[in-house]
């Protein structure tokens, strides 16, 4: 695992979708810079050229500034291009193209004030029955422990997933609105209590990062972070096995 480097621009990107987003952000910013510099240069020129001084008078007749029309049309066209060729396809892919065929890792993410909880289906690959009535301080995932499907489920406070394999996460919140944010994965998704929202993502390199909450959720909002550990498939499997082994101990 390599130490991530954070700087003053975009954080490192480890997600397969992130490249599209980064390209888009960069393209838009170059476009913005071009517009701003153009405007600015014109403005500064005017300020110098048309400053008030003896012998200089303003011109009443409006200038024919055909270029302004072209500028506006240009901005509109640029926006249309960004919309049609970047924004819509990229977002549609992120939002709709769930990789259900590619052997995804499926997890549940439960947000509460003020920690994350990650729920893995365990060896049987099936999530146990969960329900509001089972939520307790010692059962944060709301698992029905009498349900055998749920008995081998793993519930942990840090997010682990393997590199190169898509992850489908089902997001729910217990109490208020939270937002699941992984800057290095270019993912933000609100968790709305009473709703289950699925998202997917796939990492392209390993590393140890952080998950944060991006929606004000109360006084501990700032403390609502969790480890984000992207591992090689072998390490991931090893971690899963360890968790399973740990579960056996606790059936007392």
């Amino acid at each position: 695992m390599n130490e991530p480097e954070y700087g003053w621009w975009l954080p490192p990107n480890v997600s397969v979708q992130g490249d599209d987003i980064d390209t888009m952000i960069n393209v838009i910013h170059w476009f913005m810079l071009a517009l701003f510099v153009g405007w600015g240069a014109f403005m500064v020129f005017c300020l110098v050229r048309f400053r008030e001084r003896p012998g200089h008078v303003a011109v009443y007749k409006p200038i024919k500034a055909g270029f302004s029309k072209w500028l506006e049309v240009g901005v509109a066209v640029a926006e249309a291009v960004i919309l049609a060729f970047f924004a819509m396809p990229v977002w549609a892919k992120i939002k709709n193209d769930f990789p259900t065929q590619d052997n995804p890792v499926v997890i549940r993410v439960v947000a509460e004030q003020f920690k994350w909880l990650f729920h893995y289906p365990g060896q049987d690959g099936k999530f146990g029955r969960t329900g509001v009535e089972f939520y307790a301080d010692d059962n944060p995932a709301g698992l029905d422990f009498d349900d055998e499907d749920g008995f081998d489920d793993i519930t942990v406070r840090g997010l682990h997933f393997p590199v190169g394999r898509p992850v489908i996460a089902r997001l729910t919140a217990k109490d208020v609105i939270h937002s699941f944010k992984m800057p290095v994965m270019r993912i933000t998704q609100d968790l709305i209590p009473g709703m289950e929202i699925p998202i997917w993502f796939e990492a392209k390199s390993t590393g140890k990062f952080q998950v944060g909450c991006a929606q004000l959720c109360g006084l501990g909002h700032y403390e609502m972070k969790a480890d984000l550990i992207i591992e090689s498939p072998e390490d991931y499997q090893r971690w899963l096995d360890e968790e399973h082994a740990a579960l056996g101990l606790d059936d007392y």
Partner: protein, 574 residues
């Protein structure tokens, strides 16, 4: 007329006045006080952000230990400050200043009206504003402190919050009532009480901007009113409009029937709050247009396209709100719709900005203090507008949503944008209201320091946001990417404190100039619009003789005229 008014007692003349000018000044002073207060809240937050966990100098020792621990801020206090900073700045600072103060003082003068259409309603509007403001501020003294769920008050967090939230909602209902009454008054006044000859396309751009703003306030605020009533019911009567079934707070199921929708609040809130953004900026643009036309000594370039853009802007602002909600799990059909409307709405803003910039061509630019602020407005609002682009698109928003980038973006619109416009307005119309001009040297000091430090505050936020630092974090350094940009945070904080210091010349100037013996000329800026046709300061009833309008609003440097300005109200032989 005027002598009768001067016979009135102190209370009727200054406190319960129905004169639009007095009300405008009341609004102005109150709003400036609130702005200053909201700004102070932010300065305390900046200390925590720059030096997390260390005691706030001086102030920290004065605060009760429910808010601070040995002088260092506690997270719930930080959240209170954040929520109240937003609320105070938006609803109790800028809107009352831009609409209540400038609108009230200038609009009737610019359209040649003796007063607003409903003077008593105008007074009630101000009173409702004051009551709302007091309720909001009083909430700081509650046991649980003020509202702490952000200025957006998202449910269910706000529903389960402390009593401060109830005060927030009640305060909002008063503020909304105030805005509604004011808006209605403005529309009727502008439609009905224009001077003879003042047709719609002879209206100064400022009046147009106020007209559109008034429509936005009138039609966008009621849904928030409805939402506030719902949330009040949720908090006080135990209903669950915004609470879904089976909420578990603090490990225990909360006692509520359930069946509500947390997103409903967001829809109703942003249905207001997006038009509200235009409420914040349009009057500012109006002031800037006035100042630029006056100081370039030529007509505005593209007056009509600007007016049309204004109308389109106002109309479209009702159809873009859900771009604040891309990350709530909205389907792609709807997000596509909102991305398209958001891109469309950027076009009229571009048109207005371009027209203002092109107006500089062929001008004879006077660098008065008001003009400096107006000129600074253009690039600053430009940055604010441009940075809205990536936020308006769902995919980049997936990274930038609720980061400091958003904060930088909207502050560039409202702080160096609207606030600079407000300063421009104050420097421009101060002679009208007081009969004295503000000192130019102090003004320029104020401008340059403000300009530098405004950018020092908000430019670093863009980079912090790019790095992925979320907003509303009590201590962003606990995240690795937050710690990496901590230097920028410190820079922002110091800029903010310097920005505060930069306002001292303004405050001195404001009060000191009022006492100057030397009176300003009747029309110190050689302006063309109607407000300069009245005596200074204008008496009760405004105009000594009923004005008649003969030409458009910005007839400067008319070829063949004997002066470089041809006022609207002077019948000149061509």
């Amino acid at each position: 007329m005027s002598d009768e008014h001067s016979d009135l007692g102190f209370l009727r003349k200054y406190v319960f006045s129905t004169d639009h000018k007095t009300i405008g000044i009341q609004y102005g002073i109150t709003a400036l006080v609130f702005l200053f207060f909201g700004f102070s809240l932010m300065m305390m937050m900046r200390w925590q952000l720059a030096y997390p966990g260390s005691a706030i100098p001086i102030i920290g020792g004065l605060l009760p230990d429910t808010l601070v621990d040995r002088g260092a801020m506690l997270p719930d206090f930080y959240n209170q400050l954040g929520a109240m900073h937003g609320t105070i700045m938006v609803f109790m600072g800028i809107v009352p200043l831009a609409v209540g103060a400038f609108g009230n003082y200038v609009v009737p003068l610019q359209i040649g009206a003796p007063d607003m259409a409903f003077p008593r309603l105008n007074m009630m509007s101000y009173q409702a504003f004051v009551i709302g403001g007091i309720v909001m501020l009083a909430s700081f003294f509650l046991p649980g402190g003020a509202a702490s769920s952000g200025w957006t008050s998202y449910a269910p967090l706000a529903v389960t919050a402390t009593t401060g939230q109830t005060f927030w909602l009640i305060g909002m209902i008063f503020l909304i009532a105030s805005s509604l009454l004011g808006a209605l008054n403005f529309i009727v006044t502008i439609l009905h009480i224009r001077a003879e000859g003042l047709t719609f396309f002879r209206l100064p751009f400022f009046v147009w901007s106020q007209l559109v703003t008034a429509f936005l306030l009138l039609l966008a605020f009621p849904p928030l009113q409805a939402a506030a009533i719902f949330q009040l019911m949720d908090r006080l009567a135990g209903t669950s409009f915004f609470l879904p079934s089976g909420l578990v707070v603090g490990g225990e199921q909360i006692v509520a029937a359930g069946g509500g929708s947390p997103l409903l609040w967001q829809h109703l809130f942003w249905f207001l709050a997006h038009p509200e953004v235009y409420v914040l900026i349009l009057p500012g643009m109006g002031i800037i247009a006035e100042v630029i036309a006056n100081n370039t000594r030529k007509p505005l370039w593209g007056y009509r396209p600007m007016v049309y853009s204004l109308l389109v802007l106002g109309f479209l602002s009702f159809g873009v709100w859900a771009h604040h909600m891309y990350m709530t799990g909205m389907g792609t059909t709807m997000s596509t719709f909102f991305q398209i409307t958001t891109m469309i709405i950027s076009i009229p803003s571009v048109i207005i900005l371009t027209c203002l910039v092109i107006s500089l061509w062929g001008a004879s630019i006077r660098f008065s203090v008001a003009m400096l602020f107006a000129l600074a407005f253009l690039p600053m609002f430009g940055i604010g507008g441009l940075t809205g682009l990536p936020l308006g698109l769902a995919a980049p928003d997936a990274h930038l949503h609720d980061t400091y980038y958003v904060i930088g973006h909207f502050h560039y619109v409202v702080a160096p944008g609207t606030i600079f416009a407000m300063f421009a307005g104050i420097y421009y119309w101060y002679p009208k209201a007081t009969g004295r001009t503000l000192n130019v040297t102090l003004g320029k000091v104020h401008f340059w320091l403000s300009f530098i430090f405004m950018n020092g505050v908000f430019m670093p936020m863009m980079f912090e946001g790019m790095a992925g630092v979320s907003r509303r974090l009590f201590d962003p350094t606990i995240y690795d990417h937050g710690a990496a940009v901590h230097g920028l945070t410190v820079m922002t904080s110091w800029s903010a404190w310097c920005l505060a210091a930069a306002q001292i010349p303004f405050i001195i100037n404001f009060f000191w100039s009022m006492r100057k013996t030397e009176r300003a000329e009747e029309n110190p800026w050689q302006a063309t619009t109607l407000e300069w046709a009245t005596p200074t300061p204008p008496p009760h009833g405004n105009f000594t003789e009923t004005p008649v309008v003969y030409r458009g609003p910005y007839e400067y440097s008319v070829p063949g005229a004997d002066r470089d300005f041809s006022p609207q109200y002077v019948k000149q032989e061509a």
